[in-house]
């Protein structure tokens, strides 16, 4: 090649690229009827029986459960709404539940929804026993006395209407699909009744779902024809896509970028409270944190407002106890500990720990920026009280192994997030604070028989007398605030970014980062 050839090639290259881009397909005919979601993670498991991860976003549009949870607002209390079940009734003190199914519901394969199909779906999920199947652990038998009636028998009283609304393990599957294995579902096939059906699945890339014309709810005015669930792990790329209109919805962008996006007229930034909260579990089995007043002092020394401002761009909210707002049983009047270093100092002095050179270890998950920040700021505050806090970032599995071993050898403080698999205050209170013989998630190693009794009784009542159960759960939360086995830090915000021409968007925190595309239009 001589110099002239080289120059000619250099000149031709852009032209060739141009041609190539023409060749690659232009926008589809009517892009306005396509809703594109840029999701920051992949969809590991599309089997509705075992899915227990970010795949919920897809499945919630393709499958339906018996009921759906409607979060509480300032205007209306939380409730459970009918979905595939039209009505239900608890008898036998909450140990027998009878669901009456909606008429005329069809699966995507054309077969009709029957009680047998519901029975088969839940039994498949229980039999495989993966994912969130444990939500059905109290179910001893399911019967189908007639085509539209399903009866669940339970070993203990449980709020089965709430359990059935779970975002995982509650999906109803067509009889033909029930006979399939995990690989069949993960090859991009489905057996749901939902408003969308899966057309194709390209792992690591996207799921394409199109509207199911025979959905029992009909097609809403101006609804989307197609939902495209794109996997976009790089937040810079996700931001480019939503700014350029190549995506209609995304989340998990850095908080620092939100201001610029709020100012962009093409975008709407929606912040809602989530059902996920961050707290610090204090090792109640190890001196000096076995003393409630020392634990209270640590809570007083926590820089709540600074962490919310710096860690969540002010979008997080202070926790009032362990049950977040929007969940029934949340206590909006519960006392809130305020940062007060002088009060903390006084408490420590009363306990004989003034400038005692106390050394504590805090573990948190390595990659979690919010936890790291919370640790750093808390450490700074504790330093002024003469307490040295050693921050120990660890991989989650290693951290969990350490904390499940002997409490006497474990960490002093552990940062943890929690959310409910199905929406009940019992999920938070039981998993985190109920006495455990071997620790699983009660990593404060807290044990209080009076508290255990109170929440167990409330749980048994929550199927039949929810108002009374709610009062008991509130009392239990106040016990936790007073006894301080944990420092309740913040309720995480759900921040979603949408194109501004998308209408009808409402976040439902019971289904974390799930969009019900059927509700939307452009």
């Amino acid at each position: 090649m001589n110099r002239r050839d080289l120059l000619i090639s250099a000149g031709l290259a852009p032209l060739a690229l141009q041609a190539l881009s023409r060749w690659s397909v232009a926008e589809a005919q009517d892009g306005s009827r396509i809703f594109t979601l840029a999701n920051p993670t992949g969809f590991p498991d599309l089997d509705p029986s075992t899915s227990f991860s970010n795949d919920g976003l897809v499945l919630a549009n393709v499958y339906e459960s018996l009921t759906r949870y409607v979060p509480g607002t300032t205007e209306a209390p939380a409730s459970v709404a009918p979905l595939l079940a039209e009505s239900w009734q608890a008898t036998d003190g909450g140990k027998t539940w009878t669901f009456t199914l909606r008429k005329g519901v069809r699966f995507h394969d054309g077969t009709e929804l029957t009680a047998e199909a519901v029975k088969g779906s839940i039994e498949r999920t229980m039999k495989i026993g993966g994912g969130a199947a444990f939500i059905w652990s109290a179910v001893t038998a399911i019967t189908a006395p007639d085509p539209l009636t399903v009866v669940f028998s339970l070993s203990t009283a449980q709020p089965l209407d709430l359990i059935a609304s779970a975002g995982f393990a509650g999906w109803i599957i067509s009889p033909a699909a029930q006979a399939q294995d995990n690989a069949w579902f993960n090859a991009g096939q489905d057996g749901g009744t939902g408003p969308f059906r899966i057309d194709s699945y390209e792992p690591g890339q996207r799921v394409i779902a199109s509207r199911f014309a025979d959905h029992w709810g009909g097609t809403p005015e101006g609804g989307f024809d197609t939902a495209v669930f794109e996997v976009v792990e790089d937040s810079v790329l996700a931001q480019s896509m939503i700014e350029s209109g190549n995506a209609d919805w995304t989340y998990s962008l850095p908080f620092d970028n939100l201001e610029a996006m709020k100012a962009n007229p093409d975008l709407q930034v929606v912040a809602n409270p989530s059902f996920e909260n961050l707290f610090a579990l204090l090792n109640t089995r190890r001196a000096p944190l076995d003393r409630p007043r020392v634990r209270q002092a640590l809570a007083l020394a926590f820089p709540y407002d600074d962490v919310i401002t710096a860690g969540t761009a002010g979008l997080g909210t202070r926790s009032r106890g362990i049950v977040p707002p929007g969940i029934w049983g949340h206590d909006p009047e519960a006392p809130m500990v305020m940062t007060d270093l002088e009060a903390a100092r006084a408490l420590l002095a009363e306990e004989g720990l003034a400038d005692s050179g106390l050394e504590l270890t805090l573990t948190y998950v390595t990659s979690d920026a919010l936890e790291a920040l919370a640790g750093e700021l808390w450490k700074a505050n504790l330093e002024t009280l003469g307490i040295t806090l050693t921050l120990q970032p660890m991989a989650w599995e290693a951290m969990w192994d350490l904390s499940k071993a002997d409490p006497a050898q474990a960490q002093d403080i552990l940062l943890l997030y929690w959310w409910a698999t199905y929406v009940t205050p019992y999920d938070y209170l039981f998993n985190l604070f109920h006495s455990e013989e071997t620790p699983t998630f009660n990593l404060a190693y807290y044990s209080n028989p009076a508290f255990d009794r109170l929440i167990d009784e409330a749980a048994a009542l929550s199927g039949t007398d929810r108002a009374k159960a709610e009062d008991m759960f509130k009392a239990a939360q106040r016990m936790m605030i007073e006894d301080a086995p944990a420092v309740f830090i913040l309720d995480k915000p759900n921040v979603h970014i949408l194109r501004s021409d998308v209408k009808g968007y409402a976040d439902n925190p019971a289904y974390g980062h799930v969009v019900f595309v059927n509700d939307l239009s452009r």
Binding site: S24, A132, F134, E202, Q205, E230, S240, E397, T421
Partner: protein, 340 residues
């Protein structure tokens, strides 16, 4: 030693490598502190679920028994299910491996196409402006971090000029309106097989930027290696003889000098191909490329051992196969290597 024996010997050595890697993977899984049962039982397991998982995974069996079980499974290609997602690993590999192989092969091809001729020209015009420009370009290509180059290319070709797609493997419009029937899993080949030239163009357009990003480093290295080898060879006497015989410059360069000089460059390209199979995680993330690197890195973070084992084995096989091909290619280009 003849070519046949040479290939046979390479083949036996490769088999040893594969068996050795299988053993190492198994040992590593025993040494790393983690509880597979806890992972398999799901994100919030109860004690009973963990016990059940322990039984299902045969964790109570003796160590030799487990190794035999593991070796058998690997030999038959039965990689089992992922601890974390419970998906069939063979199904995942079938989805992710072709995407990665396609990208790695295309980028190696680009590196070969750019690096070796550029090195040869630079050597032929030693000290000239082409040589100096090439030197600068190769240093830039080698020194620039892949993530930065990726964003630069995205900015110039996707956002600014708008001639190439920003990310992904194929446009969603194709996937929605007329999806390509997967036959081999390689988008380019599938498109040709089904005579979908729109899909072929689309897939090629998506391939260019990530492949260029990955090609930069090996192309830079290959260029420098070829250049220095060529400079040495161009001063040898058989080149002088060729010149004296009046052969054209181009013929001397490509017919007589280059075959003696490409050895090291080919080795580097082979290695970079193997590296691209799992080492291209950043490039895959930035271009939302559904490849093996992303899949494996996620498995490593969650200690999803069966996935790591399966991927390690598959990559080892690809690597060994690539090395065999390279050895063969070198033996054909330069028969002296079979004598060593």
């Amino acid at each position: 030693m003849g070519l046949g024996r040479y290939i046979f010997r390479r083949f036996i050595l490769s088999a040893f490598v594969v068996v050795g890697v299988t053993f190492l993977v198994f040992v590593a899984a025993q040494v790393v502190p983690s509880d597979p049962a806890a992972l398999y039982a799901g994100p919030r397991p109860s004690a009973e679920q963990i016990e059940k998982a322990r039984a299902e995974l045969h964790l109570e069996a003796s160590l030799p028994e487990r190794f035999i079980r593991f070796g058998k499974a690997m030999a038959t290609g039965d990689f089992g299910v992922s601890y974390k997602s419970r998906r069939l690993i063979s199904q995942d590999l079938a989805a992710f491996l072709p995407a990665t192989l396609e990208l790695a092969a295309f980028s190696t091809f680009l590196a070969l196409l750019i690096g070796i001729p550029a090195g040869a020209f630079a050597a032929a015009r030693r000290g000239g402006w082409l040589d100096r420009m090439g030197g600068l370009a190769s240093i830039a290509a080698v020194a620039m971090p892949a993530f930065f180059l990726a964003m630069l290319l995205q900015f110039v070709f996707a956002k600014w000029l708008g001639v190439l797609p920003l990310s992904g493997r194929m446009s969603r419009e194709i996937a929605i309106s007329a999806p390509l029937a997967p036959v081999t899993g390689f988008a380019l080949i599938d498109a040709l097989l089904s005579r979908r030239f729109d899909a072929f163009g689309d897939a090629l357009a998506h391939l260019i930027l990530p492949a260029l990003t990955l090609a930069a480093y090996p192309a830079g290295i290959a260029m420098r290696l070829t250049r220095s080898a060529m400079i040495e060879i161009l001063e040898r006497r058989h080149i002088l003889a060729a010149r004296a015989l009046g052969l054209s410059g181009r013929r001397i360069l490509f017919g007589h000098a280059l075959p003696n000089a490409v050895g090291p460059a080919l080795t580097v390209l082979g290695l970079s191909f193997a590296f691209a199979l799992t080492g291209a995680v950043l490039v895959e993330i930035i271009f939302a490329w559904p490849g093996l690197g992303r899949y494996v890195s996620e498995a490593i973070l969650s200690k999803d051992f069966p996935v790591i084992a399966a991927a390690t084995l598959v990559v080892t096989l690809c690597y060994v196969a690539m090395n065999l091909v390279l050895d063969l290619a070198q033996a054909l280009i330069d028969p002296r290597v079979t004598l060593k």
